[in-house]
């Protein structure tokens, strides 16, 4: 068996050629990949670097707690609802011990499933479908959603309108499509009017039908080329997600379950309140993103994947009928063992989108979403942990609040961070199988990005610049006057 961290670090990096993919495109946020090759194009090192650093955890300290659900969603514009709700769940613990009225919980669920629908639609249609429909090394000029719209207008339109519906569910529940304010510590600030309910309900059957069509599209692609789809970017690993108390798929709430690469349960129904002993966050010098692992298994063996592929194979069932049918088919395709090919993420993702569309309709038909009882009260506490299944996987928010109502501690493990090691393993697998010994072309490099896109990573932030970064950077304004300057010494110490 190959080593877990094969190709992570070359023995003699200075003697090798460096190829960089930056920015990684058609993902949310910026990352870059560096590949070190020898003269025979043998791959010695592959790394996905996350160059994001914004320090939210630190500057949240000192802010009043009720501001946090609105503030932290600015971490991410693609799945802001996840942060909005994970922070709200943590703050619920602080303001009332974590209770919600039926209306508040269902409005939050509606918001969240709306987000799951829009984010999965965006990811599949706008970002990944060009690779899958046209080929990984197809014409770079057409390999985007505009190209899809030209070649397959019905598919593009379906994607655009599915996303639009999900965004409208978010707008109706939170006031705004991106960065709304619907959820507050202890509840929500609005429920739905009959008009709002009817407005969403009229399109809900169409969305279920289109989601089912989307599952058929990806299932068809998968079956048309199982050699590629089952094996590409294979990441045999532990899988972790929330499941509800019956072991069923639930995006909003539940307890943690993990299965090993063969599908055996490692732990189950573990309360996420103990996440910080369950997980340890490792650090590597070459990425601002941390590398979490299951503490008891250690850094080498304890890493895991989260997100659709983990969730669909971790749960025992899906509560909505059509998605459950599709789940059963998905699991049957894998046979006795779980699927670990990265492209399986897309199939699993579309099943989740179908589940979201069905759940939205169920919630819209529930009279509680028009209730007036929005806030719950209970005893005050000093600490709260909120966890949710975001579109990209399990998302952890943890806060402490002092007696003066200010945040004194914040720790966040975002979904993509959980997948950090898995993504690196996937790109190394692709590099080894597709790049090894070949003349490197744009199309071959796109294979690396295809693997990253499977994870739908949300890298949010900045990158660019070929070659080594300067050890000193001076920022000047338009007149040449220095307005900022930073230096980094040979030990990596940062100074001014």
């Amino acid at each position: 068996m190959r080593h877990q961290f094969e190709l992570e670090t070359a023995k003699t990096p200075e003697a090798l050629k460096r190829i960089v993919i930056e920015p990684v495109s058609r993902v949310e946020g910026h990352g870059k990949v560096t590949i070190l090759l020898d003269d025979n194009n043998q791959v010695h090192q592959v790394r996905l670097h996350i160059v994001e650093f914004r320090g939210f955890e630190k500057f949240i300290e000192g802010r009043p707690y009720w501001e946090v659900p609105v503030l932290v969603q600015r971490l991410c514009g693609i799945c802001p609802v996840s942060h909005h709700l994970a922070a709200s769940k943590a703050m619920d613990m602080i303001v009332n011990g974590g209770i919600l009225t039926p209306t508040a919980e269902k409005i939050r669920r509606l918001m969240h499933y709306g987000q799951m629908l829009q984010s999965h639609a965006l990811h599949f249609f706008h970002l990944s479908s060009p690779d899958l429909l046209f080929g990984f090394d197809s014409d770079v000029a057409k390999r985007n959603i505009v190209g899809v719209a030209a070649a397959n207008p019905d598919v593009a339109k379906m994607g655009v309108l599915l996303r639009k519906f999900g965004q409208e569910v978010i707008r109706v529940t939170s006031g705004k499509r991106v960065h709304g304010t619907g959820s507050v510590p202890g509840g929500v600030n609005k429920s739905l009017t009959a008009e709002e309910r009817d407005y969403l309900l009229k399109d809900s059957d169409q969305m279920i039908a289109w989601s089912r069509d989307a599952v058929r599209i990806i299932k068809g692609l998968h079956r048309s080329n199982p050699a590629l789809y089952d094996a590409f970017g294979a990441v045999p690993s532990t899988m972790m997600s929330l499941v509800d108390d019956k072991g069923a798929l639930d995006f909003y709430h539940g307890a943690l379950r993990a299965r090993d690469k063969d599908g055996e349960v490692i732990f189950d129904q573990v309360s996420y309140q103990g996440y910080n002993t369950l997980l340890t966050e490792g650090v590597k010098s070459w990425s601002y993103m941390k590398f979490p692992y299951i503490t008891t298994l250690g850094e080498e063996k304890g890493w895991y994947k989260v997100g659709p592929l983990a969730r669909i194979q971790n749960c025992d069932s899906i509560p909505t009928p059509q998605a459950e049918e599709e789940r059963v088919e998905f699991v049957a395709h894998g046979g006795a063992k779980p699927m670990h090919g990265s492209l399986g993420f897309h199939w699993a993702r579309m099943i989740e989108m179908l589940c979201a569309a069905e759940t939205i309709k169920d919630l819209l038909l529930d009279p509680d979403i028009m209730g007036a009882d929005l806030m719950a009260e209970g005893p005050r506490r000093g600490e709260g942990i909120g966890v949710i299944e975001a579109p990209r996987g399990t998302l952890f928010h943890h806060y402490r609040v002092d007696d003066n109502d200010l945040v004194t501690y914040a720790n966040l493990i975002v979904s993509t961070t959980n997948n950090n090691t898995a993504m690196n393993v996937a790109v190394r697998d692709v590099a080894k199988n597709y790049l090894q010994g070949h003349e490197i072309t744009e199309g071959l490099l796109n294979h690396i990005e295809v693997a990253i896109r499977c994870f739908d990573p949300c890298l949010s932030c900045a990158t660019h610049a070929l070659g080594k970064m300067p050890l000193e950077v001076t920022l000047v304004d338009a007149t040449g006057a220095e307005i900022d300057r930073m230096t980094k010494d040979s030990e990596g110490r940062i100074g001014k």
Binding site: H49, V51, R54, F59, L75, I78, V140, N446, M469
Partner: protein, 183 residues
């Protein structure tokens, strides 16, 4: 007889610096209108295409996010050099946005706090492949000349649509009540 020359599509490049991609999401919130828009414009470097660097003849550069590290500076200069018109889109591009809340703290303290591992000391990522952070997050107009500003966190799809259609029609973009928002 020569056929009339096709009217050239405007070349639009977009990027996110120290932003959250929410402005790009809001751009996609023009929904079906994106299918009309691509009749008028073609996308150059952008997170939704695989073009990694700006063509030298971009007409419009749209940037979300402020400037927080050395790479942001490089990308911003690439956009200024290659785009005739630059638009700062969203709160972060315009005043640094929420990431600029770190400006009241020392970046060394933030890094030390974030990368402290219980029992294992502090390991701040320092590989040459990851960009050096600036001491403060800066709005775009403090670094290069910006031609237009489109506020919001993010500006709504409707605001972006109004702004771009004004611009494409040769009008000075205006938003007005209901479309101008800072949040």
């Amino acid at each position: 007889m020569n056929a009339p020359l096709p009217k050239r599509k405007l070349k639009v490049a977009t990027t996110s610096l120290a932003g959250c991609f929410g402005c790009h999401m809001s751009f996609l919130d023009i929904d079906e209108r994106i299918l009309d828009l691509v009749e008028l414009v073609e996308f150059d470097r952008s997170p939704i295409t695989d073009i990694k660097h700006c063509s030298p003849d971009c007409d419009l550069g749209i940037i979300e996010g402020g400037v927080c590290n050395a790479e942001n500076v490089h990308v911003l200069h690439e956009f200024r050099k290659n785009c005739k018109i630059l638009i700062a889109m969203g709160a972060c591009a315009i005043n640094g946005g929420l990431p600029a809340q770190r400006n009241s703290l020392d970046i060394r303290d933030i890094l030390a706090a974030v990368y402290a591992q219980p029992g294992r000391g502090v390991h701040i990522p320092n590989d040459p492949e990851i960009p050096l952070l600036l001491n403060e997050v800066h709005p775009l107009h403090e670094v290069v000349k910006i031609d237009y500003f489109l506020p919001g966190c993010p500006p709504s799809g409707d605001a972006i649509w109004k702004f771009l259609t004004d611009l494409l029609a040769g009008r000075t973009p205006t938003l007005g009540h209901g479309l101008i928002h800072y949040d």
